[in-house]
Symmetry: C2
DNA sequence: CTGAAAGCGCTTACAG
DNA sequence: CTGAAAGCGCTTACAG
């Protein structure tokens, strides 16, 4: 049926040990001619090593898990996550690792996910900081775990994220430079931690430096629908507002639609800035001004750091922080005087 | 270190066989009290079976591969693919299977991907029919392989797709009913096979029935940029056109933008219909009329059929064909007279 | 440079 | 109802 080391060994008239050495590139232990002969047979028979057997014997799986919250339905893979996923798979493949994608419906499933396939490491994508905080030795064991976009201080995990404070500051400064003084901050609940909170801090910082008091805050989920709702009534609630900073593009796009529906011209009456620079943010009318994250950079950093720990036990103390960039497009303009 | 069957067996004072039987729910073979005792210990020690060892011994991995073309860069996961991915993972998890995500840069990697982890089956997402056609026994072996959106006649694979002919026909009939007679078909090369060809056939069919000759065809890649380019010059090339049917939403959205740039009002002067019903298609201005695919249905069918073969050897002969639906929005209107 | 032995953590018949 | 033996396909020391 399937071709095994033994089949190669028999065909070559050597032991499976020797074949194993050739397969694994330990050329110093095998003569050049034997190596050549074995390699030829391997090619002819189409031998592919059995990952399970290898993992079991070598006590390392070359497997990295990508864990994503699942709720009761399917994985909620945002466009932003999809791009990260693609980049991460590529980086792992380049390093000879494979990716297992796993939805997590309940916290206890994390332990099971990590152990059932002897993962060499795991990347957590889209989890809340409070979930990351709760991860303990009993669930994680000694497996390196990396959390994307996390501000958790959990020493058992390492973080890879964007410079959210700077990103929000750039957005605010852009609006301030256009003469806006009455800016609404829109996003999910501003916890006292997490990505949204950091963006709020950066935003607030810039306003304070310009001598402007705290912005009005509007709570909205990171969905298009919530954006539309907020946009429709924005000027009812905040009649003097001339700009909105939303913590996500998808929300900003909804807000633009709601404003337009309500007869409020964007950007002439109200400017809108988002965060993420999704592909679709340049397909809207007007095209969205936003803060771009370095998704490729996140994936590269995540994989590099995770494998460094898995292979060499190096445990970096500081999280990786990726640069952000303001992308100025058509949804922002000088404040109406 | 890690908790094994042996640890449980020692703690319970039984053989590993008995523990194995309990873990695998073969309750008929173990007394109720022994079962209870073992289950308690399993819970206390946090035992998780070792997937690799299980695969190796049982000759079945409970692993399904999701193979995606990778080119030289990262996986190109479209929003459409991301949603399928999430749904497929969910279905697999419900059935106790796990998903390996694997980018394929060269055709020969398929064989390696299937064998290296003893996959019980594989789903091919985003491959061209010509790639599917070339799959042979030597690469596939006896592993069930299912191709999404494929019209390949390769008997070694099974297909799951939307009813593309009907979808295109619905789009055409919608435009015809609005009085359009001069409609441009826009999409990638209309091969003599594949999804695009089927959509062309359905489209053509509807026109013929209405006594209208073959539509003008414009070749464009399935990208926003190609759509913009096409939209800008559409009326230069086809001065009498009053409508466009694009084989993908992303392309249609680009076309709308190009038309608008060129000063052509959509839908007053030119109507546009897409295909896919992406989330973003309702965020554009105007919102896009399009043909919706049943992505959840695709995932359910794909997983159900794949596992039926993997577990029972049932090989369905006919491909699964999912229903489509026209979503009428704001990008289509009565033909200008 | 080459190989025999032990073991990774399970399951599959089979015997009691 | 319970268990001893063999084996899945590899790798890891270790011996020659």
């Amino acid at each position: 049926m399937r071709v095994t080391l033994k089949d190669i060994a028999d065909a070559a008239g050597v032991s499976i040990m020797t074949v194993s050495n050739v397969i694994n590139g330990r050329h110093a232990r095998v003569s050049a001619e034997t190596t050549a002969r074995i390699q030829r047979i391997v090619g002819q028979l189409g031998y592919v090593p059995n990952g399970q057997a290898r993992s079991l014997a070598a006590q390392t799986s070359q497997l990295i898990g990508l864990l994503v919250p699942a709720g009761h339905g399917s994985l909620a893979i945002t466009p932003h996550h999809a791009e990260f996923l693609g980049q991460a798979e590529r980086q792992l493949r380049r390093h000879g690792y494979h990716l297992m994608l796993r939805g997590i419906a309940e916290p206890r499933e994390v332990a099971e996910a990590l152990r059932s396939w002897s993962l060499d490491g795991a990347i957590l994508l889209g989890f809340l900081d409070e979930d990351i905080d709760r991860l303990d030795r009993r669930t994680i064991g000694s497996i390196p775990v990396l959390a994307i976009d996390s501000y958790s201080a959990n020493p058992l995990t390492i973080g890879v994220r964007s410079d959210d404070v700077t990103g929000a500051r750039l957005a605010a400064e852009h609006l301030l430079s256009l003469g806006h003084k009455n800016i609404v901050f829109a996003g999910p609940t501003v916890h006292n931690a997490g990505v949204v909170h950091e963006r709020f801090l950066g935003f607030q910082q810039a306003l304070h430096q310009a001598g402007i008091p705290d912005p009005a805050v509007e709570t909205a989920d990171t969905t298009h629908a919530d954006g539309v709702t907020l946009g429709r009534r924005l000027l009812d609630t905040h009649p003097h507002a001339t700009a909105v900073f939303a913590t996500a593009d998808i929300l900003a796009i909804g807000i633009m639609e709601g404003l337009t529906e309500a007869g409020v011209p964007v950007p002439q009456r109200v400017s809108v800035v988002g965060f993420d620079n999704l592909d679709i943010s340049s397909y809207t009318t007007p095209k969205l001004t936003t803060v771009a994250q370095d998704i490729t950079g996140k994936a590269v950093e995540a994989v590099t750091r995770l494998l460094a720990i898995a292979e060499n036990g190096e445990h970096p103390s500081a999280p990786a922080v990726l640069d952000v960039e303001l992308i100025s497009r058509m949804s922002t303009a000088a404040a109406a005087s």
